[in-house]
Symmetry: D2
Subunit: 172 residues, 4 copies
């Protein structure tokens, strides 16, 4: 299952609720875990991950190369029998989805979109207090551009647990 | 300003938004900071802070004694000129409010209540993933019993930033 | 590269230093990341991961099954071109090493042992403040039983950065 | 008790060990808690707290004003009967000590210095991975300039628990 949504759209909370409501054990990995696994020096470096003063994120070639290996490894966990929930931020919209499709092959995948309008994510970004202001609003629409989903939820008007129940219902 | 609400009612997010929307700098301290400041051995000990398997919290005499000194110190910061936002969980409802009143004296105080029904906080507790399940629902109503407020917000039906704006408007 | 050592032996600090001193970018994944990826309900459950009152850790069949898929996925990242540092706690000593060997195949691996005596890890466990007391001492020797290494460091008598430099020198 | 030392000198670990070895319950507060309590916008702002690209820290007048109120409040907790361990970074050396003396009055105080040479704290800063590189080395000596202590420990050559025992012995 791949869950896509912008920063502060509530993906992490939805994933935790999904892990609680689904009967089988599902592992959860996110793009944030990948960033955490990188050398600290790759954050803020050309080639690595750069976050601009207004929250725009740009990923360089060294980032993309390692990320491709990470994606292949996560899908390998699925092939090895694990149920996996991936949460990602499709900075390139349809292009990001295609990158996943290239490694997924025939692994069965539920595509989930988490929508939340800019004005709401901006407030939630402030409430979290640990994010660069502006990032959330910038990503609210672009991450969904050209992406196709099996199920879409609106986290501005539904609690995480309710989004999780809607998503879980599509798994059966 | 003293903000009271049960676990997972969204107090921390509201406080961060308040700090961002208020023009003057306000310091934020919460009962969680006090618990963090205690020796680790006082958590889970008789006399200290005990959290039962279903999330019921009970505070013993050693906890209460240190907490009283902490409360006096926080109010002393106000007397020394700092603007302070305190977030607390009034486990004894009106009794907890009285304990604050005993140390507040003539320090000007805005009393704020954050309401959120049990079914909503239960879901948010699950989404946070780091709390003992059941605690949030148990506290949803009891923390407000007999407490009087200057302003009350409903965090189930308003975003943190909107709650913060409502509260900020009452400061002027 | 697979780094094995007991709880509080300083593996995480050594890994961060390694990422800083190594010229090429290396991804770092640890058994703690796997535990974090599991549903919260699998911690403390039969079949999952149980931590006893004295810090003894036991992993059940559901844990082991998912972990095997995780291990296969991490090694798949290596095959896909990523340099990876894995930090693990070999609760079964030589048996744990064999489980890695089963998935590693012909992927080049540097085996690293981090030694730290029980009396030192017990103090460091206390200083960290977020671990079940007793776990560190229990694991200090057993994780190394029957395990063979390419390089071994003593984190009681060398700083993390010095351990990292010793390990890095063995990569060339 | 006031513990002074530069960034990454190991104060936090020593404080946790102190709380564990001391018989009476002691509350622990640090300058990091104060920074955490400030509005996020005061970090990185003129007047607030600025951290330069090489790790130099400068505190502006708005920071100093709020900090003075915080210091007064912490000492008020002592007057109200709490035993308190304060950990601070004396950026102005003797000047910082004098600022504490101004609010301490007749409250009994044990002054503790934690020494750790630049080359060691630089490595530990790297191992922590969440600090601006360079800050630790810059502070290693300046925080002790002109400061007088009741007890001094060397965290480069002693574990946190051993430093804690040395300090605890001076309380009696």
């Amino acid at each position: 299952m791949i869950i896509n949504g912008g920063s502060s759209s509530g993906k992490t909370g939805i994933v935790r609720c999904l892990q609680a409501v689904l009967e089988e054990p599902w592992l959860a990995f996110g793009i944030d875990d990948f960033v955490e696994a990188m050398p600290a020096a790759m954050e803020g470096s050309a080639g690595g991950l750069e976050i601009g003063p207004d929250g725009e994120v740009s990923a360089g070639p060294a980032f993309r190369e390692l990320e491709a290996a990470w994606m292949a490894g996560i899908i390998a966990m699925c092939r090895a029998g694990a149920r996996v929930i991936i949460d990602d931020v499709f900075l390139s919209g349809a292009g990001s989805q295609q990158r996943w499709r290239d490694v997924i092959g025939d692994v069965e995948t539920l595509w989930v979109g988490v929508h939340c309008p800019p004005e709401v994510v901006t407030g939630r970004e402030l409430a979290r207090g640990d994010r660069v202001p502006g990032m959330a609003a910038k990503q609210a629409f672009i991450v969904h551009e050209g992406v196709t989903y099996d199920v879409e939820v609106d986290s501005a008007n539904a609690e995480s647990i309710d989004c999780a129940r809607i998503i879980a219902a599509h798994l059966k």
